[in-house]
């Protein structure tokens, strides 16, 4: 007997809505999330459980292999941490939407076939939109709508590919798909990959992420950073391993986020650009397709979820305590927010791959897989992206927010649960960095023959960080935030597309107007030609009408003629 962790989270969501805000609801939230984690940890080994026969297709609701289990584990683990971070939130609907979102993400990882995965995938999109709309910035509504449209398009691409595949006699199970994908590209594969690539935020299909995530609530953003892109990474590992296209898309992604992060002023949007950069490592690992690279992608997803949540929690506490989100308005908070600063820095060291923190043991696995797989350029470019990561999340953001020029900001007192959740994530970031064996034993391809703590490796990393730090210090005055927005690919649907739609509507309107004007004069000419209108009258439709009696007579005569013809 197994308990599906997704349904445990759904039950918790339902209970949250029914129980009024207070200690009882907080207890149910924490217990529910912890139970989901326990049920994910207790998932059985390889094998299919919970099957259903629907419309002639064998659906596998739970197919828990090592890859599914490691993702289910981290998804439920971050649900626990995220729930603790949000315990003080009183809106039941916000708790319910994040729990449904988390449950749907777990559902994708445990699905054994494309059809089941697609249903969870769409539920995840809907729930994540609800999470975004619980934000309260002036841009939340519009950004949410754009998020909805992009994800509806992504879901449609995935569905179109799936329908073509199944209609062509394809078996929707992932086991069968593996042979289809290894045989090469096909139209269904291309469509499905495009649908998944949108969720993985692969440029140019990524702008929804940096548009919408920073507009969610302080607590909601933590969940958003964990699930959508990482379920996409999971599906890429599961269904699309080994592709040069993904390898180079991943490398480009890792650097793309870095460039934008230089220009970004909003601290949560800066971190969102680094989600794209970090997911780039994972996508590159999927593209390499070797056992070590795929293990690296899974391990990096696991570690990334923890440290990125920690970083966004840190940025969230700054926003919650000061109401400010731009680097140009922040500074000198370290002495007034020491706990948040220290915990944020643990996340920053982790994402930067500092030895003894978890990013070191997972990121280096992908970079080494690139080097060993015969891609020297990949090794150098991913290392360059790593420089950018330390520059932004480890140096620029903390310098201008916590250290650097003091602006005399007095932060509000934070709820204790926020610091508690950050502490949980920070402890795990360090624990995995010090004891990577625990994570390595849970990776999909065993045994893992990778040793991150070699002298060469540690020394190289330390040198890289010192070099980056030195350059930052020299150039720090160029790096202060600027009160600007940076154009990204969302420009296409935020600027030209609305103009095109407005032009289309205006064009249709003028066609209608022209038709009315010319139609009226055409009727007038016709009327004059058949001498219906009294000469000299104003051309008006009523002027050409016959009396109702005559009209009825003519209609009846016409019908009688038709009937006569029909009878003859």
């Amino acid at each position: 007997m197994i308990a599906h962790p997704g349904f445990v989270l759904f039950a918790t969501a339902l209970a949250t809505v029914l129980i009024p805000a207070g200690v009882a609801r907080q207890a149910v939230l924490a217990l529910g999330a912890a139970s989901a984690l326990a049920s994910a940890a207790a998932l059985p080994g390889d094998g299919v459980a919970w099957t259903a026969q629907v419309a002639g297709y064998q659906l596998e609701l739970v197919h828990a292999d090592a890859l599914a289990r490691v993702f289910a584990l981290i998804f439920t683990l971050i649900a626990v941490i995220g729930v603790v971070f949000a315990l003080h939130v009183r809106r039941a609907s916000e708790h319910a939407s994040v729990l449904v979102y988390a449950g749907a993400a777990v559902g994708v990882t445990l699905a054994g076939d494309w059809i089941t995965a697609f249903v969870w995938w769409e539920l995840m999109a809907a729930a994540s939109l609800a999470v975004i709309w619980h934000g309260n910035t002036p841009r939340t509504g519009a950004a949410g709508f754009r998020y909805l449209l992009v994800h509806a398009a992504g879901g449609s691409l995935l569905l179109a590919g799936l329908v073509l595949y199944v209609a062509g006699g394809g078996d929707p199970s992932f086991d069968a798909w593996r042979t289809v994908w290894s045989a090469g590209w096909s139209l269904p594969a291309a469509l499905m990959l495009a649908g998944v690539a949108i969720n993985a935020a692969i440029p140019p299909l990524h702008a929804w992420l940096t548009d919408a995530y920073p507009e969610a609530s302080v607590t909601g953003t933590v969940f958003l950073s964990a699930f959508t892109t990482k379920t996409a990474v999971y599906l890429l590992i599961r269904a699309f391993p080994g592709s040069d296209l993904l390898l180079w898309a991943g490398v480009a992604m890792a650097l793309y986020g870095v460039v934008y992060a230089v220009l970004e002023n909003d601290i949560r949007r800066l971190l969102a650009y680094h989600i794209i950069s970090q997911v780039g490592y994972m996508v590159a690992g999927v593209g390499m397709g070797t056992a070590m690279a795929l293990n690296g992608a899974a391990a990096h997803a696991f570690c990334h979820i923890l440290y990125k949540a920690l970083l966004l929690m840190g940025a969230g506490t700054v926003l919650a305590a000061t109401g400010r989100r731009n680097l140009t308005e922040l500074g000198g908070l370290a002495s007034r927010m020491p706990a948040a600063t220290a915990l944020y820095m643990i996340g920053a060291f982790s994402i930067s791959g500092v030895p003894l923190f978890n990013g070191f043991v997972s990121k280096s696995m992908i970079v080494s897989a690139g080097a060993e797989g015969g891609w020297p350029a990949v090794e150098l470019l991913l290392t360059l992206a790593s420089v950018g990561t330390f520059l932004h999340t480890g140096l620029k953001l903390p310098y201008f927010t916590f250290f650097g020029p003091d602006r005399g900001i007095v932060p509000a007192q934070l709820p204790r649960n926020m610091i508690a959740a950050m502490t949980m994530a920070a402890v795990l970031c360090i624990a995995l960095g010090v004891f990577p064996g625990w994570l390595y034993a849970r990776l999909p391809f065993l045994p893992v023959e990778y040793h991150p703590y070699t002298v060469d490796h540690v020394v190289a990393t330390v040198q890289l960080l010192i070099g980056t730090g030195a350059a930052f210090w020299v150039l720090r005055r160029k790096l202060g935030g600027e009160a600007t927005v940076s154009l990204d690919t969302d420009w296409f649907y935020r600027r030209p597309l609305p103009i095109a739609i407005d032009a289309l509507v205006a064009g249709a309107g003028s066609v209608g107007e022209a038709a009315r004007t010319y139609g009226r004069s055409a009727v007038a000419s016709f009327g004059r030609a058949v001498r219906l209108a009294p000469p000299g009258t104003v051309p008006h439709f009523d002027a050409y009408r016959r009396s109702i009696g005559r009209t009825v007579t003519w209609v009846l005569a016409f019908l009688a003629a038709l009937a006569l013809i029909g009878w003859l």
């Binding site: 309260n136 002036p138 841009r139 939340t140 509504g141 519009a142 870095v258 460039v259 934008y260 230089v262 220009l263 080097a371 060993e372 020297p376 090794e379 150098l380 290392t383 360059l384 420089v387 950018g388 520059l391 070699t454 002298v455 060469d456 020394v459 190289a460 990393t461 330390v462 040198q463 890289l464 960080l465 010192i466 070099g467 980056t468 730090g469 030195a470 350059a471 930052f472 210090w473 020299v474 150039l475 160029k478 790096l479 600027e482 009160a483 600007t484 927005v485 940076s486 154009l487 990204d488 935020r494 600027r495």
Partner: protein, 77 residues
């Protein structure tokens, strides 16, 4: 304070280069830069400078716009 940090960084860097030379494992070198002592320091320094300069140039020439660029419609909740 700053001077102390520079000295500490220099000391760690020097130590790392010594370690790199002493414990160099040629069996793990795949490409020439794995054999150059201090390569990663130079790569970090030059890479970081390049990222800042190139990104700023792209930003000011092409990408950066005033915060109100997307207009007032954006401000509707």
């Amino acid at each position: 304070m700053t001077r102390g940090w520079w000295l500490a960084a220099a000391a760690v860097l020097a130590g790392s280069v010594v370690l790199e030379i002493a414990f160099h494992d040629a069996g793990h070198s795949l490409y020439w830069w794995h054999d150059v002592p201090g390569f990663d320091f130079v790569y970090g320094l030059a890479g970081c400078a390049a990222i800042v300069v190139i990104s700023k140039a792209i930003g000011s020439a092409w990408l950066q716009r005033p915060e109100t660029y997307f207009g007032e419609d954006e401000e509707r909740p």
